[in-house]
Structures are given as C-alpha cells and as structure tokens.
Amino acid sequence: MEEVDRIIVHSLRSIGCDVEDDIQSLRQFGTELIIATVVQCLKVILGDIDLPSSLPPGMSARFRLGASLANHVQDLGYKGGDLGYQTFLYSNETEVRKIFMFLVEKLPKESSQAADEPIGASVLLQRAISTEINTQLSMAWLPSFLKDKGVRNRSKPPGWQIEGACCLQHYHSCPVFIPKSIGNISNKVPKELRSYYIKHLPYVTNQTNLHRDLAPSIMEANSLEVAVSQDWENEWNQIGLASRLSQQEFKKRKYEKLLKMIKDRLQQDSQLQEKIDSQTAISDLNQILTNIETQNKTGNVKTKGSRFAHTEKLQYAKDEEKTMSQIGPAVPEKDKDTEEELEKKRKEEVDSLRTELSSITAGLEKLELEVKKFSTGRQEMEEEMATQKKSIEEKNAAYKVKKRTLDLLPEAEANIEKLQQLVETSSQRLINLSKQWEAHRDPLIQQYNELSQLNSKRESEAEKKLEEIKLFRNKMKEVADDARRKEELHKQLVSEYERMTKDVNRSAYTRKILEIVANIKKQKQEIDKILVDTKSIQKEINSLTGKLDRTFTVTDELIFRDAKKDEAVKKAYRFLAALHENFEQLISTVEDTGVVMREIKDLEEQVEIESNKKVLSNLEKISVDLQQMKKENATLLAKVKGK
C-alpha cells in the first residue's frame, strides 16, 4: 500500500496540490488536506468548477461542500461503493485511497503535450544566464592581481571569463564605411566611387582611430542599417502603399515636404528675429537657406535628364531669387559693409549672367528645332526617291514584255503553234516536277511530323522534369526546415531532460511492479499448494471414515452373531456400540471447534476492519459537528425570531 500512496502523493504534488514534504502515505491526510486535494484534482480534470479550495468554517457549508464533491466524483464515473459527504468529512483510509486512485487515473495526461511546444527564447536566455551565474558562483575567489587584465581562465566549461571592472571600456563608436553593391551587376557602382574603394578606402578593421572602438562601431553600423530598413518598411506598409506612389516618388515627396517644412520654419524665425537680433545671425540663416536650395537642386539633377534638369535649374534659380528678395529686405540697408556690397555686386553679376545664359539656351533650342525640321524634310525626300525608282523598274519590265510580243506578231500562226508546243512541254514538265516533288515531299513530311512529335514529347518531358525538380526543391527545403526545427526541439528536449529532477524513477517503478507480480505468483503457487493439501486431507478423512464405517459394520455383524450365544460377547457388543457413539460425538465436537475457530478468525478480521475505520473518532467528530450544527441552527432561529 505504501507504494501506491507514494505514487498518489507524487501525482497530487505534480498537479499543484500543497502537500507537505513529510507526508508519505494517505494515513497522514487530514480532512482539510483531503478536501483541498480532491478539489484541486476536480479542477484539473473538469477545467473550471466553482468550489472553494479550503474547508469553510460553517458546518452546513462543510456538509454542502462534501455532498457536492461526492456528486462530482460520481459524475466522473466512480463506482466504488456508496459515496457521500461522510466519505470526505469523516474519512477512512481505504475509501480515500480508492477515491484518489480513481481521480489520479482520471487526470489528463498533459505532460506529454506540454513537451511538444518549444520553449520561448526568453526562457532559454534566462536559463543560460542562470547556468552561467551558477558556474561563476561555484568558482573559488581569486585575488585581482592573479588575473590578467580581469580575464580569468576556467577549466569547466573550458574558456575565459571577465571579472572585475578594470578591463572594461566605455561604449564608443565612430562611423565606418563599408563598400556597397560591389557584386551587384544590375546596379553598377560609379567609376569614381569604385576607384575610391580600390585605392583609398582603408580596410574596415583599420578605419577607427582606436582599435578597441572597432567592435562597437561595426555593431552600431549594422544595427543602424537594420533599424532604418525596418522603419522604412513599416512606413512604406502603413502610409506608402496607401499613397499609390512608387517607392522613389514617395521618398522624393517626403524629402521635399521635409525641406519645405524646414525652410518655412527658418523663414518665420528669421522674420521674427529681424527686429531683435543683429544681422550676423540673419546672414547665417541666409546661408543655410541657400544651402537647402542647392541641395534640392543637386538632388534633382541626379534623378532627371540633362536638358530637363537644366530648365528646372533655371526655374529653381528664379525661386531662389524670390526667396533672396524676400530675405533681402531683412538685411538692414543702413550699414553698408564692404562684404554686403560685394555680395550685392556678385548677385547682380550672377543675375546678368543668368539672363544671358537663358537667352543663349533659348537660341540653342530654336536652332535645334530647325535642325530637326531639316532632317525630317530630308527623310521625306529620300522616301520619295525610293518610290520613284521602284516605279521606273516596274515600267521597264512591262516594256520588255510588250516588245517581245510585238516581235512575234509578223509570223503569228507558226509562232502560236511554237508557243503552244512550248506551253505543252512546259506544262508536262511541270506535272513531272510536281510528281517528283510529291514523291520527295511525302517522306519528308512524315519525317517532319515524327520529329515534331518527338520534339513536343521531349519538351513536355522536360517540363515535367522541371516541375518535378521544382517540387523536389520545395520538398528539400521543407525537409531541411523540418529537420532543423526537429533538431532544435531535440536539443531543447535533451536540455530539458537533463534539467529534470529524476526523483520518480521509471525503472524503479517497473522493477517494483515486476517484484509485485512475482510475489503474487508465489502467493498463488502457495495457495494452490495449500488447496491441494486440503483436498488430500479431505480425501484421507473420507477414506478413514469409510474404513471406520466398514470395520464397524464388520465387527458389529461378527459380534452380533456371537452375541446370541454368549452373554460376555453381548456385553462386548454393547460396549462396542457405546464406543462407537462416543467416538462419533468426539468427531463432531472436533468439527464444531473447527467451525468455531473459523468464526473467531472471521470476527477478528471484522473487528480489525472496523477499528481501521476510525469509527470512534469519527463518531466523536460527528457528535461534535452535530452539536455545532444544532448551535448554528439555534443561532439562526434566534436571528429569525429576533427579526
């Protein structure tokens, strides 16, 4: 029984029941604990049921709880005897054991399902941290002067670890430049950039001033690019796709919007500042604004074609002039510094040059237009010439035919006959030729058909094979992914298995079960032996009684025959009868004592069972509970009357 109890207690603990460590068998379970564990079991089995997990103080509530527990357990299909509130409230060991065995069997086998789900990354990280801390804690203390710049050698697991803070350096990074799109054929790198890559760009490990900034710089560069691309993807998915623009257009629009915003803000601020601040700040602002303008221009030059860009440039120049003239009055005219004058002069010069440039470009455009016109005229003329030549050739051919017919006209009949003969021979030849052609053609056509069929077959086969290859590729990928996933799972499971505490050993259980089975076999054999023994004894008894009966009848007859003649024999016969009777009585008494002994044994067993049932203590409990109930009833009655 102890084994069973241990299994039950273990499984109860595994579903989260609060069973204390020193409790090993069900005998130690109190009413409180029984109720709590049964409620927990029912909660695990049935999911959500509304039961209090601890014993309520009121007697009637306890009774109700016990009754509902009994109901729930019977609903689950419990068939071991009558179940009621008394089973839980006034428990006895065997019944409680039966109920717990039933409930433990009913528990869902969730442990196998839980193992299939992979563990989250955070849990794995936490575990790794805890194992690392564990190994570091288990190591002996080492004075700092024995460590080389804070690095300490360790043997298990082999490696190094950093202790102390003397070797630490603050995070400091600088921008690193990495060559981009070298292997990309479709997006060629400009020549200048390429020559810079080849001749002047230092290797990435040689780009930072201090070598120790290398790792932070590279990590920062990488994560920066990752973050930018993620951000862009988010923006593109949320706003960009909805705007129905191409990516470049969207980017350009955003860029322009930002520039405009900055410009507006700066202009507003400069107008505000005008009254308060000196002119230096304003001229600074001026410069920034022109910078923005030029940036805008260069940005456009890159994206557009040369001539178009040119005109745009001019447009922008006009815009710039506007803004300049807007900002121009901002500069106070009173103090005319030499620089201001110079700038003005320069501006004027630039303006004049621009107008000149625009006039020249206009002239150029006109000239280009004329050139175009002329070239189109030339093309037309050439076409006309070609058509004229064609018509001349046609006319020449017609003229030749007509001339021949005119030559033939004088000897018309002979010539006609000749011509007819010629026609006949030529027609005959034609027929011959066509026959020959047919003869040649048929096999060729057949061959062609065969070959084309073969070809189509081959093509279809090739397509099929291609599809198969594709399928196989997909399958390969799937299988590889699957294998990878399974490997990961396997790793996790192995680590989990290693981490698992092996207090409940499976092999020990099986060994114990086998032992129990062997014991039962032995007992059965012994029982069989005893049965055989009793049977043989029974047989012996039977044969003995038979013998006795037979000898008695024989002696009885012998003595009875002689008894008629002899008085002494008569006496002897009477003695014999008395002897026989006495012995019969003796035998029956022995049998009676046997029966009584058996009864005694039965009764003793019953007494033991009854004493096991803790009847007395339960009775006491019941009477106490009854009194409490009565008290509760009395108070309730008093309350009712008081109302």
Partner: protein, 195 residues
C-alpha cells in the same frame, strides 16, 4: 542574428567563388578574426600575398562582410548549426561553411571576451582594508567612548588602470547592516542561479 542588406550582400560576395577563390577564402576568414582581435593585426589583410589576384574593392567588401558576421555571431553566441543555416541561405558551399565554422568557433570565446569588455560598470570591489578605532574624547565632549570602524574599499573602475579607494567610517550597527545587505545580495544571486 539580424544583418542588414548590404552586410548580407558582402557576405554573399565572400562566399562566391567567382569573387574569392577557394584557397584564399580560409585566409580571409582568419584575417578577419585576427583583425578583430589584435591591434597589431588590424591591417594584416592589406599586403597579404594570398589576395593579390583579387580586386581590392571586392576584397574590401568581402572582408567587411566577414568581419561583421564574425562580430555579430560572437555577440549572439551562435552555434555551428545556426551559422550553417544562415550561410546556406547565403549560398555557401558545404566546404566553405565548415571552414568558416572551424576558424570562427576556435576564436569565438576570444571574440566574446573582447566584446565583453565593452560596457560600463559600477566600481568593482576587489579588496577591503579595515581598522577598528576607539574614540575616547573630543574637544566638545569629555567622554565619548565609542568604537568606530574605518573601512577602505579597493575598487576597480572602467577605463582606469589603477585601483581606487573608497573610504568611510561607520559604527558597529551600520557595519552589521552593510554585511546583512551584502548577504541578501549573495542570496539573490544564488536564487537566480537556481532557476
């Protein structure tokens, strides 16, 4: 492990036998590890005869890709399996993957040490000196009669080569409080280690 598009591109270049030959590939990886680890080797790739046939721009791109991969892989403590899956996606051959793993995994702990050095920390106590003083009297009080501990904590600080002192005095109760706090901290660490 997340790598940006340009870095991945450069890693693919490093794995492409059209750009980097099979026999110089191993040299490239070991040069990257050396260049990360040792200051005197930071430019070891420059005049290496193994790479004289390779275009410098391609070599620079491939080198930067491998350097980034090595640092990021050490940062994430990648295992051979993780790396092989990643490199397989970058169209690496099995030979190249195993070469990379062999060179990288032998240097991983060193690179991790190097990465572990980046960061800040509170002053780290390495030693302690103490003295128990007894105040008898002062100019204000004729009779004080109390014991005072003078504690001197020797600490290491980031970016400092020398050991610094932190000095303070405290009474017996304050010292007991400090010791209790330290014990709490140790227990806390043990609790974390047991999860």
């Amino acid at each position: 492990m997340e790598l940006s598009a340009s870095v991945t591109e450069n890693i693919i270049i490093a794995g492409d036998s059209a750009f980097i030959h099979d026999n110089s590939y191993g040299q490239l990886v070991s040069c990257a590890c050396k260049g990360i680890l040792f200051e005197e080797n930071r430019n070891v790739i420059e005049n290496n005869p193994a790479f004289k046939d390779i275009d410098k721009d391609v070599l620079k791109a491939a080198y930067s890709g491998i350097v980034t991969l090595v640092i990021e892989a050490a940062k994430h403590d990648s295992t051979a399996e993780n790396l092989s899956t990643f490199l397989e996606d970058c169209k690496y051959t099995v030979d190249r993957i195993s070469t990379f793993n062999k060179i990288f995994l032998s240097q991983k702990s060193h690179i991790q040490l190097l990465l572990g050095k980046v960061g800040s920390s509170f002053p780290h106590i390495v030693d302690v000196e103490w003295r128990l003083d007894y105040y008898i009297k002062s100019n204000n009080l004729e009779k004080i009669d109390s014991a005072v501990y003078l504690i001197n904590l020797k600490t290491e600080e980031p970016d400092e080569q020398t050991i610094k002192d932190i000095q303070f005095s405290c009474t017996l109760e304050q010292l007991q409080d400090l010791v209790g706090k330290l014990k709490d901290a140790t227990k806390c660490m043990e609790k974390i280690a047991q999860v």
